[in-house]
């Protein structure tokens, strides 16, 4: 993939609308067809399926550039890739043929429904339930903070079937499903969040992805790995935008008779921003070399990249505003990125959950091999 063309598309078609989308809390729907035409909605899939057959490095770079443009658009592209990839890996042939072409073409917008009003990080304790009869499944419960929930045509819903965690394909028009928009979020404000309420929601009996009891793993974990990878790379793009704005400011802005760039405390901030962005980039690139989203090595690298990149971007957005002073507080792009950055530390697993998982993995490996 020609990254200069991607950069041009992002600069001309995505970035200019980002602040207005943030203000109005509306996703730029006119972009969906164009994103599909670029092959980005199923970017890992073969070109015959409408994808770009990207390797993990190019896939990451795509999300870095999308992160430069608009966090909500990056989230939308990420979700389509998450759902298409889990269908590709764990769906049966009928499910693949039924849903992937529509996702690739942008006719079907897909969303991922795991969180519940009482369940965030503690995914094992989801309460949504499913009962299977001869030819249909009935779902009951609530899902919340569902990105794209307001506009999605298809939901991957996680619920317990006979107590076992299972993933279901739920079309929006399913009887018994109600969608309630969520507004006024801190960041990613154009991501069209919604709460889903299932009251004896009926779906066809064959709408299970993977087997009964395998919903959270390996089906859900594959999707989360892709999501975390995309977020980590997206943070690089966000941070670069902040750095560019801050650099322009400290070069131009005169105080005490000289440019801000000449003050050593300003230089310290610039140095810290550059080093932390590059450190995050190396972790992202290390995650890109593992070849698959499914190996144990991949999971470990992705956890580290997401953990570090999200904490990095929270710091860099804050530092950029600090360097720009009142002008930074007035800068709509910096404001948006500052708010989006906080969200990045929470979605697809909080910073703290990442720290726990990284430590658990290292301890496990150390016990097993004496190193990690």
């Amino acid at each position: 993939m020609n990254m200069q063309e991607v950069q041009k598309f992002v600069a001309e078609r995505i970035a200019p609308a980002a602040n207005e989308c943030d203000r109005t809390e509306q996703f730029p729907m006119d972009l969906v067809v164009e994103l599909a035409q670029q092959g980005w909605l199923v970017a890992l899939a073969d070109e015959s399926l409408g994808g770009r057959n990207l390797d993990l490095m190019n896939f990451g770079e795509l999300f870095e550039l999308l992160g430069r443009g608009c966090g909500s658009v990056r989230a939308m592209v990420m979700l389509q890739n998450m759902v298409a990839s889990l269908l590709q890996r764990w769906g049966n042939e009928e499910q693949k043929q039924k849903w992937i072409p529509g996702i690739a073409g942008g006719q079907i917008i897909a969303a991922f429904a795991l969180s519940e009003p009482d369940v965030g990080s503690d995914a094992l304790n989801i309460k949504a339930s499913a009962v299977r009869s001869a030819n249909e499944i009935k779902l009951n419960g609530k899902k919340t903070w569902i990105t794209l929930g307001q506009i999605a045509h298809l939901f991957i819903v996680f619920a317990r079937l006979n107590g076992k965690h299972t993933a279901f394909l739920v079309p929006r028009e399913s009887p018994g499903l109600e969608v309630f928009p969520i507004s006024s979020m801190l960041g990613l404000r154009a991501a069209m969040l919604a709460e889903l309420r299932f009251k004896d929601c009926r779906i066809p009996g064959e709408n299970i992805i993977g087997g009964i009891g395998f919903g959270l793993a390996p089906v859900g974990t594959l999707a989360l790995n892709i999501g975390r990878y995309s977020i980590a790379w997206g943070c690089l793009g966000m941070a670069r935008v902040c750095l560019d704005i801050a650099m322009r400011h400290v070069l131009d802005r005169q105080q005490f008779g000289t440019a801000l760039k000449n003050f050593q405390l300003v230089q310290q901030k610039i140095a810290d921003m550059i080093v932390s962005i590059n450190a995050a980039r190396y972790l992202c690139e290390a995650a890109a070399t593992v070849g698959s989203f499914e190996s144990r090595r991949a999971m470990m690298h992705i956890l580290q990249a997401k953990y570090f990149a999200t904490t990095m971007v929270a710091r860099v957005t804050s530092d950029a505003i600090q360097l720009c002073g009142a002008l930074g507080c007035r800068n709509e792009t910096l404001q948006r990125l500052f708010r989006d950055a906080k969200v990045m530390e929470i979605i697809e697993g909080t910073t703290q959950i990442h720290q726990i998982k990284i430590a658990e993995f290292a301890i496990h490996e150390y016990k097993r091999k004496g190193s990690f």
Binding site: R89, W90, G91, N92, L124, K164, H165, I209, G210, G211, I212, G213, F214, G215, L216, A217, P218, T221, E294, S295, R296, M299, H364, K367, R368
Partner: protein
């Protein structure tokens, strides 16, 4: 045939001693997130691909079940 390798792998996650027919999922020895580790272990150690239709708890519930599953996949019976 593959039981020793399976036992060694499970010891990394289950401290209690379990017999070859003991159900590791319903017995509460592991939670459902463990399935990812199990699938990766089987794919990486036995050079085979776990498919969507293989995701049946009966294939993974015990050392004997996993052993039978791997043998059947190797023989092309799945």
């Amino acid at each position: 045939m593959y039981r020793d390798t399976i036992r060694t792998f499970l010891k990394n996650y289950i401290s209690d001693s379990i017999n070859d027919d003991q159900d590791i999922f319903s017995g509460g020895y592991v939670n459902s997130l463990f399935a990812t580790q199990l699938v990766l272990f089987i794919e990486e150690n036995f050079d085979l691909t776990v498919e969507s239709e293989d995701l049946n708890l009966d294939n993974f519930k015990s050392i004997n079940a996993i052993n039978f599953f791997i043998a059947a996949k190797k023989d092309g019976k799945r």
